[in-house]
């Protein structure tokens, strides 16, 4: 069970959180200018790397804020967590 440090509330156990997938994912628009393939890319295609990844998590049973986590998908190590709106952390150390 991961221990995740919410940038607002501090370290809490994983059941308090909900995973939201890799970031950044840019929503393309306006709809009439978006090709089918660009839309499919936005909806379905993710890097799913082995190693460091930036993800968004929600502190669902706490402050209900979304924030950014840099996690290693192999070791489950969490390097840093940042608030939305702060500059996106790098994945390379």
């Amino acid at each position: 069970m991961l221990r995740i440090s919410c940038p607002w509330c501090g370290p809490r156990d994983e059941p308090e959180f909900r995973w939201g997938g890799e970031v950044p994912v840019i929503r393309p628009g306006p709809p009439e200018a978006v090709s089918d393939s660009a839309w499919a890319e936005y909806l379905f295609i993710r890097d799913n790397p082995k190693g460091w990844v930036r993800e968004r998590w929600l502190h669902a049973l706490g402050c209900r804020q979304w924030f950014i986590v840099v996690r290693n998908t192999l070791s489950h190590e969490i390097r840093t967590t940042t608030k939305l709106g702060d500059s996106l952390p790098e994945t390379a150390p």
Binding site: M1, R3, P28, L43, W66
Partner: protein
């Protein structure tokens, strides 16, 4: 009271002043407080404690604690029975009831014992090969009964289990010398420490080895250390507690056994310990040797024999032969010798065991160095063992020696207990001399110490444990000086690993005792070209089941290394998985059982419903009335009566679980316009609009009404099960996609009670209450909202409903719900008011042709599929899911579309889930299916709703609907059966 024939006159850590009686396999025996079931049985001369898993061979004790593979027992009976415990770990209590497993009627006289004659027919994987025709499933039940372990209780467990969360700086797993030293060091350095041990007493091997620490008897040192830790406010000592699993970020799960007495408040407790650092001082497990008939009762680990003699004062035999490859076994032999057990010989597989053998020889013990075990003789008990010179040390022929004995103590090496460390992904290196995987560089926050780190002498364990505790405390931020490590006498502890006898008899040379896997089985697996150790494990089942290969894994690897001509590190180990030792399901479930398993939400009208004899059901996590038993003789009649009241008089429906989300702020209208498929920007204050919400894939995820209370204030109502999901989606989009919008969303679902007053007499009922709201249809039309007062209750009334009748939805602070409900029932009684449940409501909306998202739509339904396609053309703004509606697939004409269905037989209710078959002759191919269906008294016929391929352009078409062997002729229709002009709705 019978005495214990095999109990030593004196000594041991048992309390002879507290005799206890217990029952095993139906016979009563006596033991003492401090005995385990195993030691007490051995004291009573019971040597056969179980039957082997596959061949039902008689089995006795091999170990004395968690390493025991044979002595599996079932405790108690009925609801509190516990299967699959090891007799070696069960503390006896007065009146304890235990049974051996996998045998009948008893371990000694087992009806299935004939199976051992068929051993040659049951090699590894025999069930895959032999029982394939006609199907494995024909044979499975019988085989499972013959080869099995305990029987789980069939009734709910009445006992109470708990769970606790704990945080500490240093968690020390193992209360032997290394673990105690680590805990002392960490505690003295100022760290918060938790020390856990699975035994009832601390000390580990010190309980049966006579040693000194810091110049005092070791057990006095243990007692002082325990006292010191207990006196510290920042240390916790947990005994009878197994650390069974390690999970991410240093979370270690413990199971604590508290009380097995019926009166105990809590039986077991699950601990979730989050530790900054973990020191694994879980010791090492001695290994048996693989030779022919090595499973005959009376053959046990040397350390176990010493434990029985010294800790429990039990004589494990009268004449013992030791077969060893370790120095430590000589200490065991000496311990048995001074307790009056004759040592017939020490057979050492090492050619030159050195000084330790010479001193044993001086004490009068014959030594056979360079000899290996060949085979044991005896069926129900060992009678002798044949040994011979190892081929490596000379000729095998002619050197055979038969040694008469009733006890064989084996010691093939020591395996560090690295399960937890390995679960934490710690790296290991292979030590060839000791024949063991030893922890290499520690993994993050985890380190091994003492025997678990490969140290076998007491002195090394103490020094190493103390250093590990001090380091862990420092790493966790503790700064005090821990002082000096405890010391003990230096001693030799050499090992030359020995796996298996080079001699024949492989088909009866056991590797995994618990799963009945022999050396022959491993040879067969290799002959059949299995190469990966993970495959061989699964094919032969070696290292599986309750003991997780504690005594068998390394011997299996040693044998495979020979067979595959590969080094052990190249073969690698199988993956260690939790739990280290079996954990009861009760402990894992803890308090999350019964009503706490999935807590249900109750509406503010719960008591009123119960008083009206509501039949409650779980609807999306809410405990709601399905129907009211007070309305008729049976379910059908009650629902019919409720529907009749709604259509001809007036009904009350508790809609409190309906999702209610307040959306406020200058950009509220803009935000909701993006969240809804429908246009919400243009909605006037005081008005209501029905809308649907989509996922980004264009699929309908929820529907409901959107109420505009003021220019910058909306109330979104969602389906009852959708409130938290939709609220979460609102927050997600606001925080992550549109942080610039000035909008605040609040989930107010449980703050408001909701009562739907519906039916032709709804207005009449409300007008009998004192209100400042003008109920006139012109002043207060359908799809509008008013705020005011009803009697003295502040309310908001919305002209919306789900029944198709004149309907007023009252929203009020939840606390007023009960009194207003009661008042409505009283005032409405002359006009036939009646509460209605979910079942009636579902039928009312079905005959009105209203869809229910999730029932009449599925995970692919788009707006156009339910007839809302035109809305898109009129909306120019972007919204969630819009781009997905522009895909070619979204525009296909043969998509599943929402339609009405009428059976040709007016009295036939089409079964929900039944498919429209494409070809009625073959009954193959589906054109869609029935989603809702009911008999409608108001329409005088049955009606149904469904999703049908291209259904909206097939109105009037006759179709065949198939269910359960029957075909139902039906017609596709528009679902607007009831009040198609909306006169009742708008009344």
């Amino acid at each position: 009271m019978r005495t214990n024939p095999h109990r030593l006159e004196s000594g041991g850590r048992i309390d002879r002043s507290r005799p206890l009686s217990f029952v095993f396999d139906g016979r009563r025996y006596n033991g003492f407080a401090g005995d385990t079931l195993a030691s007490a049985l051995l004291a009573n001369g019971v040597r056969i404690i179980g039957r082997s898993f596959k061949l039902h061979r008689p089995r006795g004790l091999m170990g004395a604690w968690s390493e025991e593979p044979n002595a599996i027992v079932q405790l108690g009976s009925g609801a509190t029975a516990v299967p699959n415990l090891k007799a070696t770990q069960v503390e006896i209590t007065e009146g304890l009831q235990a049974r051996s497993v996998n045998c009948w009627p008893s371990a000694r006289r087992d009806a299935f014992a004939f199976l051992k004659l068929f051993g040659p027919l049951m090699p590894a994987g025999f069930y895959y090969k032999t029982f394939m025709w006609p199907s494995w499933h024909w044979f499975e039940p019988t085989i499972r009964r013959a080869a099995g372990l305990g029987i789980s209780p069939r009734v709910p467990d009445p006992d109470r289990y708990e769970e606790r969360h704990e945080h500490c700086d240093v968690l020390v797993v193992g209360g032997g010398p290394g673990g105690i030293a680590a805990a002392l060091a960490a505690s003295r350095a100022g760290a918060r420490v938790v020390l856990v041990d699975d035994r009832p007493v601390l000390g580990g091997s010190l309980q049966w080895e006579e040693k000194s620490i810091d110049g005092q008897p070791a057990l006095e040192w243990v007692a002082a250390a325990e006292q010191e830790l207990r006196a510290s406010s920042s240390a916790r000592v947990l005994k009878r507690t197994t650390a069974f699993g390690c999970y991410d970020h240093n979370l270690v799960a413990l199971s604590e056994r508290i009380g097995s007495e019926p009166a105990a408040a809590v039986r077991e407790r699950l601990w979730h310990v989050r530790a900054a650092r973990v020191v694994v001082a879980s010791g090492a497990i001695e290994r048996p040797m693989v030779f022919a008939n090595n499973d005959v009762p009376g053959i046990m680990l040397a350390s176990a024999a010493m434990s029985y003699a010294a800790q429990y004062a039990v004589r494990p035999g009268r004449r013992a032969v030791f077969v060893v490859s370790t120095d430590s076994a000589y200490e065991a032999a000496e311990s048995l010798r001074i307790r009056g057990i004759e040592i017939a010989a020490i057979v050492d597989t090492r050619k030159d065991p050195g000084e330790i053998a010479l001193s044993a020889q001086r004490a009068g013990i014959p030594i056979l160095a360079g000899y290996v075990p060949v085979r044991a003789r005896g069926t129900l008990a060992v009678k002798s063992i044949e040994v011979g010179l190892s081929p490596a040390n000379g000729t095998a022929g002619g050197s055979a020696r038969h040694l008469e004995c009733d006890l064989v103590c084996v010691s093939g090496g020591w395996t560090p207990t690295v399960h937890l460390y390995s679960q934490a992904r710690g790296q290991m290196r292979y030590d060839r001399e000791r024949g063991a995987f030893i922890p290499a560089a520690g993994t993050k926050g985890f380190q091994c110490a003492g025997a678990a780190a490969g140290n076998l002498s007491l002195h090394q364990c103490l020094t190493d444990g103390f250093a590990a505790g001090r380091e862990a405390a420092k790493a966790a931020g503790a700064t005090s000086d821990a002082g000096l490590a405890p010391i003990a006498k230096a001693e030799r502890s050499a090992v030359t690993a020995f796996w298996a006898s080079p001699r024949d008899g492989h088909r009866k040379a056991w590797v995994d005792f618990q799963n009945d896997v022999t050396r022959g089985d491993l040879e067969l697996a290799v002959r059949e070209n299995l190469r990966s150790v993970e495959h061989i494990k699964r094919y032969t089942t070696t290292g599986m089941a309750v003991d997780q290969g504690k005594t068998s894994n390394m011997n299996a690897l040693g044998i495979l290394s020979e067979l595959l001509q590969t080094s052990i590190p190249e073969i690698g180990t199988t993956t260690f998985r939790p739990p280290y030792d079996p954990v009861t399901l009760g402990t894992l479930a803890a308090r999350h059982v019964g009503g706490l398993y999935h807590p249900l939400r109750h509406t503010p009208l719960d008591r009123q419903h119960a008083a009206a004899r509501a039949v409650f059901e779980d609807f999306g996590g809410w405990w709601r009335p399905a129907w009211y038993a007070s309305h008729g003789r049976n379910r059908e009649e009650c629902i019919r009566v409720e529907k009749r009241a709604a259509r001809s008089a007036v009904s009350l429906f508790d809609g409190s679980p309906l999702g209610k989300i307040e959306v406020r702020g200058p950009d509220a209208a803009l935000f909701l316009n993006r969240m809804y498929y429908n246009t919400m920007r243009t909605l006037a204050a005081g008005r209501i609009r029905y809308g649907i919400m989509l996922s980004e894939h264009g699929v309908i995820i929820d529907d409901g009404v959107c109420i505009r209370l003021a220019d910058d204030h909306f109330l979104v109502s969602t389906t009852s099960g959708g409130a938290s999901r939709i609220f979460g989606a609102f927050e997600d989009w606001l925080q992550c996609e549109w942080p610039d919008l000035r909008v605040l969303v609040t989930n107010v679902t449980s703050a408001w009670g909701n009562i739907a007053v519906a039916g032709p007499k709804a207005r009449e009922l409300l007008s009998r209450l004192d209100t400042d709201i003008d109920l006139d249809p012109h002043a207060f039309p359908h799809l509008s909202v008013r705020r005011g007062r009803l009697e003295s209750v502040p309310v908001r009334i919305a002209r919306v409903g789900f029944t198709g009748e004149l309907s007023f939805e009252l929203s009020l602070p939840a606390g007023y719900s009960a009194s207003l409900w009661q008042l409505l029932l009283e005032r409405g009684s002359p006009m036939g008011v009646m509460p209605i449940g979910i079942e009636a409501l579902q039928e009312l909306r079905t005959e009105k042709g209203y869809l229910h998202v999730g029932t009449d739509t599925d995970g692919r339904t788009l707006p156009a599929d339910i007839g809302l396609g035109e809305v898109l053309a009129r909306k120019t703004d972007d919204f969630v899911g819009r781009r997905s509606l522009d895909r070619a697939d979204a525009k296909r004409s043969d998509r599943l579309q929402f339609v009405g269905l009428e059976a040709h037989e007016r009295a036939t209710v089409l079964p929900v889930g039944a498919h429209l078959v494409a070809d009625p002759k073959t009954r193959r191919g589906s054109h869609g299916y029935v989603t809702s269906s009911c008999m409608s008294e108001a329409l005088g016929r049955s009606v149904a709703l469904g999703l049908v391929q291209g259904g909206r352009s097939r109105l009037g078409e006759s179709v065949q609907i198939y269910s359960d062997g029957r075909l139902f002729p039906a017609r596709i229709v528009s679902p607007q059966w009831y009040d198609p002009k909306g006169e009742r709705l708008n009344a």
